[in-house]
Each structure stands twice: as C-alpha cells, then as structure tokens.
C-alpha cells in the first residue's frame, strides 16, 4: 500500500514546532555569543609569551574537544550546579555547554588565523605606535577573520545542528517539539520532513549570506 502523505495534521500543530524553532534559535544565538569572545580570549592566551597562560589555554581546548557534547550537557546540567551551588535551567546549561565547546574550536580557528598574518604586519603596527589592543583590532584581526570565515561558518553549522542534543534534558528546541508533534499527530514522517527542511533552509540561507559577505568584503591579495 502506498504511503498517504498528510502534512495538514502537522501544520495544525504548527505552534509546537514554531515554539521549538524559537528555542533552537535562542540556544544557537546565545551559544554563538559565548563562543566568539571565549574563542578569541583562549586563542590570545594560547599565543601568550607566558607559558602558564598558554598552558591553561591548551588544557581548556583539549578538555572541551575531547568530551562528547552530550556528556558535557549532562555534566553542566547535573554536576556543575552541585559544584557551584546554583541551579541551571536547561537553557543556561545547554547554551553554556555549546558556547564553551564551540569556543574551544573557535580558539583554534582564531589562533590559526592570527598566526597566518605575516610578522611584518605586527612590526609595521608597532612602528606606527600602536599597542597590542589597536594592533589586534585594526590590523591583525581584520586580516585573520577574513581568512577564517569559511571555517567559522562550518563550525557554526555544526553548532546549529548540535542544539538538537538539548532534547536530552527536555529543553524546548525543535527536535524535542517534533517528537511531541509526531506522537500527537501520528505523523512522524511528515513532522521530521518539516524539521529537516527547517535545518536545510536556515543553513542554506546563512551560507548564501556568508558567500555574499565574503565577496562584499573581499580584498585584492
């Protein structure tokens, strides 16, 4: 017997999926806000001339890269609150986990980007009278970031998809809501088709935007 597709049932329960999508965006957004500054900070620590600071950065990156995301999520939701004595809601626990872990990956990307800028650029900035802050902001990072955009984007794509792991601690994101929609409507195939399209559309749109931005800000080399 041929399968009878019925998306109408899914759309009748669309409010659940929309709520889930909002949750997914909020999570990804917060994680990105955490990941970028952490990534930059850890990268700069890694490049520090003081061995202790560089060493801390190495530990940080390796710790977060070695752990499966789902383990970190559980750890930040259940174990970390015990240590610091504050309860985390699911949003805080997952956005922190994803932000910190993505930050560790970003740190490596930032480090590569910064090291890719020629030594002469630092010299020229210094000779003009720029301190470390201005040199990074006006001279080094603009060159480093341009080169890193494609890798950044890959990382952010990963991050966006990884938000679905938040379902494990019952955070309201789109996959969690899809599971509920599927059991309410008895239409799992249609529901997950919609969810797959959701992820595709968001990432496709973002990739078009990144491509546009790359062209817009390209500089002759």
């Amino acid at each position: 017997m041929e399968y009878q597709w019925d998306f109408a049932a899914v759309f009748r329960h669309g409010d659940l999926l929309i709520e889930g999508a909002k949750g997914t965006f909020a999570l990804a957004g917060m994680a990105i806000l955490i990941a970028f500054p952490i990534g930059l900070l850890v990268a700069l620590m890694r490049l520090s001339r003081l061995p202790v600071i560089a060493w801390f950065a190495v530990i940080y990156t390796d710790l977060f890269r070695a752990s499966p995301t789902i383990v970190l999520i559980y750890w930040f939701y259940f174990a970390f609150p015990l240590l610091v004595g504050v309860d985390f809601n699911t949003f805080t626990a997952v956005s922190l986990t994803l932000g910190l872990q993505t930050g560790a990956y970003m740190a490596e990307v930032f480090r590569g980007g910064i090291q890719g800028v020629k030594a002469g650029q630092w010299q020229a900035a210094k000779a003009l009278g720029m301190g470390l802050g201005r040199t990074l902001r006006y001279i080094i990072l603009p060159q480093a970031v341009r080169r890193m955009v494609p890798i950044f984007f890959t990382r952010l794509t990963e991050l966006f998809k990884t938000t679905s792991l938040a379902a494990a601690i019952s955070y309201t994101e789109i996959v969690q809501m899809a599971q509920r929609t599927a059991s309410d409507t008895f239409r799992p195939i249609e529901t997950f088709t919609v969810v797959a399209l959701f992820f595709f559309t968001v990432i496709f749109t973002a990739s078009q935007f990144v491509r546009f931005a790359e062209r817009r800000f390209a500089v002759p080399e």
Binding site: K126, L128, G129, E221
Partner: protein, 268 residues
C-alpha cells in the same frame, strides 16, 4: 639645541651575541645620515633600537631632548614603559625593506589609520593629511587602490607616506630599496631625496652608495657593532681612512645615482 637624537654607549646583545658594542651618535634637525656596513654589522639592529622594536641592552637614547626610559639600579641599563614607547614610536617613522603595507586597507586607509587611531584625528582631517603626504611621494592617484595592485616601488612610497602622516621628528629607512626590482629603485630614492631636501631628519641604511654620496650630510660606517668610520660622504666614500671601509667600498663599486628626472617618480 636642535639635536633630535642622541645615542650614548648603546649596546645590544642577543643572548651571547654582542651585536652593538657601544654606539655614540648625535643627529641634528634636518640631517640625513647614511649608515653603511657589511651584512651582519648591526645596521638593522641599530635602527630597530632607535624606535625600540628591539630593546637596547644598555645605553641612553635621547629624542628631542627627552631621555627615553628610566635609570635602573644597574648603570647604563634602562627600563621602559609600554605607553612611553608607543608614544615614542608614533614620533619616529620607520620604513621597512618589505614595505609591510596593511593589505586589507586602501592606500589612503593605510595612511589614515595612524592619524585617526593614534592622534585622534577625524576621518576628514586624516584624509586631507593622507592626500597631502601621498602627493609628497607622488602617488596620490592611487589613493583608492589596494596595495596588492601597486608595484613594489609604489608600495614603498605609500609606506613612506604612512610614516610621514604621523608627522615624525625623524625617519628611519632600513634598506628601503633592497626588495625592489632595479628599475623601481630610482623612484623611491628620489622620494627619499626630496624628503631630505625638505629638511626631514633621516637615518638611512642602504647599499645605494650614489644616494649616500649625493644626499647624505654624514656617512657612518658600522663594523663589528661599532662606528668604525664617520664623516662627510666625500671623506668616507672617496678618502676612507680605515682599511675595513676601503674593503667594503671595493665590493660596492656600483655608483647608481638617483635618477634626477622628476617623471620617474610619477610626480605631476
């Protein structure tokens, strides 16, 4: 009174390598000094100590009457503050062999960034200043281009304009023409010569003896990290007293005079 730079007993060591072994130097406003010396004699190290891209191991550097740094307990050894050095580097222009333009900025952007971010100028004032200095080195028409689209000679002239826009009290040139194709050397030397004639105080490391002969007020021959011989270009280049200087000059017989034709540098 109008002494712009005074160097007293300057030493620089890299670990056990004693590169500068007691340099004394006094430079007056408007003077152009050419520093000659064999490879490894410490010419770059000397220039880099003068704007503290390298920290002197020992010795006193006084710029415009102000001693840089503070005395430490150890005689001759100074300590320097970060802010002090940044402020000082802003007043000493440096031009490198490899140009080191900022590739992500236009030509005028390269020249404007210092005045805007370090001297607090508005964009409009900085642009005017940038254009004035680009005109000075004959490359105003490239203001909106990116460095990658320029020839080496043009890039180096932009680098000179970038340093000039900080309105420095002196300019340091470290083999500014050594990375250039031979046919592009003249336009850069010509810009430097004009600068010298305008009264800029300049310390120039170069192998272009023609430039030294025609432009320098004084020539210094470095050998083994010390001033081995010093005098007017005629004295040092034509009647060197020291055997090492004569030897050096024998291996540099090529007297390439800067091209006097103004068109060569694209001046309008």
């Amino acid at each position: 009174m109008d002494e712009v730079l005074r160097v007293e007993n300057l030493h620089k060591r890299f670990g056990l390598l004693h590169v500068l072994r007691g340099i004394d130097l006094s430079v007056h406003k408007g003077e152009t000094i050419v520093i000659l010396g064999a490879s490894g004699s410490g010419k770059s190290t000397l220039l880099r100590c003068l704007n503290f891209l390298e920290m002197p191991s020992e010795g006193r550097i006084t710029i415009e009457g102000r001693l840089v740094g503070r005395e430490t307990g150890t005689p001759g050894v100074m300590s320097y503050g970060t802010r002090e050095l940044n402020a000082l580097r802003a007043r000493v222009g440096m031009v490198f062999q490899q140009f080191n333009l900022f590739p992500h900025m236009t030509v005028e952007g390269n020249v404007m960034i210092g005045p805007m971010k370090l001297r607090g100028m508005t964009e409009e004032t900085a642009r005017t200043l940038a254009h004035d200095n680009l005109r000075r080195v004959g490359i105003l028409e490239k203001a909106r281009e990116y460095p990658a689209r320029l020839s080496g000679g043009q890039q180096q002239r932009v680098a000179i304009a970038r340093a000039l826009a900080m309105e420095p009290t002196m300019m340091l040139f470290d083999e500014a023409t050594s990375a250039l194709d031979p046919e592009l050397v003249g336009e850069v030397l010509l810009s430097m010569r004009r600068l010298s004639e305008e009264g800029m105080t300049m310390l120039v490391v170069t192998h272009e003896l023609g430039f030294a002969y025609n432009v320098a007020d004084r020539v210094i021959f470095l050998e083994g990290g010390m001033v081995h011989e010093e005098g007017t270009p005629q004295e040092v280049l034509q009647n060197p007293k020291q055997e090492r200087t004569r030897e050096f000059l024998r291996s540099h017989t090529l007297f390439r005079l800067p091209d006097p034709a103004p068109e060569a540098a694209g001046h309008s």
